[in-house]
Amino acid sequence: GAGVSQSPSNKVTEKGKDVELRCDPISGHTALYWYRQSLGQGLEFLIYFQGNSAPDKSGLPSDRFSAERTGGSVSTLTIQRTQQEDSAVYLCASNELGFYEQYFGPGTRLTVT
């Protein structure tokens, strides 16, 4: 079946602009995760959604970052007033309830100029 998909594949934006990154998880997967991969910080957890439960936002680096998940499926990660340090690859992953293996999408490379 189809894997995790993310869009856009690449995004270049000017400092101060807002951006939205999209993730479509594998059909039937109730859990969805966002991670950030940057040269300086490596791979770091951002946020986790599980079904209708309140999301775990403990990894969001600042209040400029937010995410939502509509209808228990598609998720959007929004970064407001982008800064150059936000430049990174943003990875989305999903898995089924009760399973611990996470399946990743191809990521969105964000470049803030």
């Binding site: 859990a31 991670y35 490596g42 791979l43 957890f45 990894g59 996470q102 990743f104 999408g105």
Partner: protein, 114 residues
């Protein structure tokens, strides 16, 4: 807090040879899982192999196997009969039961020499 350490930023191996990538971790939890992920230039993280901490037997997936030393908190990956398609970044990761978030090491870039 969980930490994962990969001490080899880069490794290289001749095609058809065997290579071992190192990983150590630290956790105070008793229920956890360990993973190796492969990230080729396409950026997609691909699950290579997984190990449940409660299992004593080392996991094996075709040419990939692990050496899980629980007391030493070591989780190395052995790739046998290396192939050109194995060239990638390899990340070791841990996940504590109930915590859900993966904690990754810094990665090891593996080069396969033809």
């Amino acid at each position: 807090a969980q930490t994962v350490t990969q001490s080899q930023p880069e490794m290289s191996v001749q095609e058809a040879e065997t290579v071992t990538l190192s990983c150590t971790y630290d956790t105070s939890e008793s229920d956890y899982y360990l993973f190796w992920y492969k990230q080729p230039p396409s950026r997609q993280m691909i699950l290579v192999i997984r190990q449940e901490a409660y299992k004593q037997q080392n996991a094996t997936e075709n040419r990939f196997s692990v050496n899980f030393q629980k007391a030493a908190k070591s989780f190395s990956l052995k790739i046998s009969d290396s192939q050109l398609g194995d060239a990638a970044m390899y990340f070791c990761a841990s996940l504590v039961q109930g915590a859900q978030k993966l904690v990754f090491g810094q990665g090891t870039r593996l080069t396969i020499n033809p």
